[in-house]
Symmetry: C2
Subunit: 428 residues, 2 copies
């Protein structure tokens, strides 16, 4: 019944999908488990939230990505429990025995116990969250056209982003594009001056993982684009009306986006201790769990003590996926595994409005070139040629014609989240 050793992979993000694809036709039976039936290309989620790309353009059905190889299977399910000594994984659909287990469940937002953040802030880790944010932003604009009270209207048109890392910065830049390219043309009744974009960063600069000069460049660029960049600012409370900073300032904002803090998406009932605040799974230099050499953890979920520099970007998860696939094949052949080592090809970050930053081979880049690099690299890494073509066309349309065509409020009218913020106005 089980002719080949069975590798179960939990999570079809960059790491899990790569592991599966690297195990194609490799003499093992691979079962990839994910709660969704699609792989989400997370780096482009912010473009879904800002109506640049359609949700379908950044997601690919997992079965399509696996169907070329005969030994790759998919199960849409949620993991409920793992019995490590018995090598048994229980999901809400099926219970399975594995020979090898690869945990690649990624990360989720970490709210650091900031009051109200989990309840009121929008986040950007899943496709559904991106669609929810898009719906909300567009609803705020629709609503603002109806409100005659100035303070209320300003609140509706204020968007506060918490976190000055990659997600926060790219969201800020992309929102500037959305507002100046499209919304100002669509909402001619509104005064563009009333739209306020804030970026709140607790450190004294943006992009702490890049050299200070690039962080400063980013802040300057965003400020020139009209974004209010608040450095050395901590958020104390998030509420339905806005947020409160540690210096006592209250910012009235209908939209607060949580773009900071990542913690490991630890599977339910995980029996081993995790690392401090980030709640990641500690693994050996060979990415294995202590005492369970048949279990690997990779990507955002894993904490590799020997690699302090890992920072949760896609290339790390991809390289770990390739590594784990090889490690499993080697174990089966009775060979020894060398520790995982990460080859850093450089880093890029996009600001938007034709600007980006980067560090490649020790050289600092800023401006148009890293912006173009960023888009090109993400196109190349996209796992499906059809979406790649659609994204290219959409970007050409976005940047040549300067429009954002995907401005649909696509949800049940009942789930409208904005009514809670601002009372409705009836006027003649």
């Amino acid at each position: 019944m089980k002719p080949y050793p069975r590798v179960v992979i939990v999570g079809a993000g960059f790491g899990g999908l790569q592991t599966a694809q690297s195990l194609a036709e490799k003499g093992v039976e691979v079962l990839l488990i994910d709660r969704h039936n699609y792989h989400t290309f997370i780096p482009l989620l912010y473009q879904v939230a800002t109506a640049q790309l359609a949700p379908e353009q950044v997601a690919v059905p997992i079965r399509t990505l696996l169907r070329k190889a005969k030994n790759l299977y998919f199960l849409q399910a949620e993991v409920q429990q793992i019995d490590f000594p018995a090598k048994e994984i229980k999901t809400d659909r099926k219970t399975l025995i594995y020979d090898y287990l690869v945990l690649a469940t990624g990360s989720k937002s970490n709210f650091f116990d900031v009051r109200g953040a989990e309840k009121y802030a929008f986040r950007l880790k899943t496709l559904n969250q991106a669609i929810k944010l898009r719906n909300h932003l567009l609803r705020c604009f629709e609503q603002a056209t109806l409100v005659s009270d100035n303070a209320q209207r300003e609140q509706l048109l204020t968007i506060a982003i918490v976190g000055g890392g990659a997600t926060g910065v790219e969201l800020a830049g992309s929102l500037v594009e959305l507002i100046t390219n499209s919304l100002q043309r669509d909402f001619q009744q509104l005064n563009p001056q009333e739209v306020k974009l804030l970026l709140v960063q607790k450190s004294d600069r943006l992009f702490t993982e890049f050299p200070r000069s690039l962080g400063n460049y980013t802040a300057k660029k965003l400020r020139r684009l009209g974004v209010k960049v608040l450095l050395d600012s901590r958020v104390i409370t998030v509420s339905a009306d806005g947020l409160e900073l540690d210096d006592g300032t209250f910012i009235a904002a209908a939209t607060v986006i949580w773009a900071v803090g990542v913690s490991g998406a630890i599977p339910k009932c995980f029996p081993f201790p995790t690392t401090g605040k980030q709640r990641k799974v500690k693994v050996s230099p060979t990415l294995q769990l202590a005492n369970y050499p048949e279990v690997f953890a990779i990507g955002d979920l894993a904490h590799v003590p020997s690699h302090k520099s890992l920072s949760g970007v896609a290339p790390e998860a991809l390289q770990q996926g390739v590594y784990v696939a090889r490690a499993i094949v080697k174990q089966l052949q009775g060979k020894r595994i060398k520790p995982f080592s990460y080859f850093n090809k450089g880093r890029l970050a996009i600001i938007g409005c034709y600007a980006g930053i980067g560090q490649i081979a020790g050289v600092n880049l800023r401006g148009f070139l890293p912006w173009l690099f960023w888009l090109t690299v993400h196109l190349i890494y996209f796992p499906d040629w059809r979406n790649r073509l659609m994204i290219t066309l959409t970007w050409l349309h976005n940047y040549l014609i300067g429009d954002r065509p995907v401005r649909l409020i696509l949800s049940d009218p009942k789930s409208a989240s904005i009514e809670r913020t601002v009372p409705l106005e009836i006027k003649n």
Copy 2:
């Protein structure tokens, strides 16, 4: 405050949108009201439900379609009451005074009091309904891979379509394409013979609005594609498990799609009598309401007694939109209005799998030519060139490579509707 006469249009479907666009720069202030912020290209909804097109490809933000003209405004709202003598329209957002009112709210599904139909059958009148159907169909397939009981699995893989008109036939054909092109490749564990497609039609032929020979051709074509076409069959009950026919047959099906019956989507608290079963608004030959010459009703909502042949297709609504815009301008100039007359350019219907039917200038068409005509005509009528390009590319991909790339189950996992049908199976 009101320099121009104000025309309020309710509903941004084919009729309402066309009225607004025909009134661009015409010396009136036009306010288009819709509950969604996008125009839905309804003829292509079935392709969204069958994972051929992305929802964003068949919907266009209304503000984008209106923004070129300075006198066209948009309000996202739901109509709550209309005070015809006072010329006042109350929505959930705003109350407005109008000089002219155009009712273009379209139609909704008519269940003819069939037991359980409204609760258990899927329908295809809105974008959300199409997405819901897509999610459900794909979930049934995922679920079927987990079920070892033959009867249960067959139920999951049985899709029953009620109604042998355009929607029912195009859905049947498109489902054949989805299953043979994509799902069979994605779900290799499943036996294609277990997938069952049924089309239930109460009349003795399909496409009653076309000559009998074309209806017979369609039935023959669908049967050759593996669809079970049941003529002279009436549905008595729809339940969570399937449907019951008037001859007592019970068909176990996890998916029942209601593709028959249209009734006018009468605005809330509409004070005038409507036509019998179809609940449409009776209008004069000039599409005006009796006693209220400033109120027009068009499209699927309107019943024009002088035009018995109108059958609820887009060209009728579009021509009525153009007519009403002209009628309003003429009224303002004090000129008389001639009755509306519909110019029938011919009719086309698509079956799928490279076949269609049509009747143009009295000539009956069948096969590949009307299939290609249908696609071309719908591309031409699409109101936005960007989506037109995207749809063309997607179709080329669909038909040249034979794949359906939009197979995402894109919804809150909580809202999964299928669990109710089939108990979950836990196996080792």
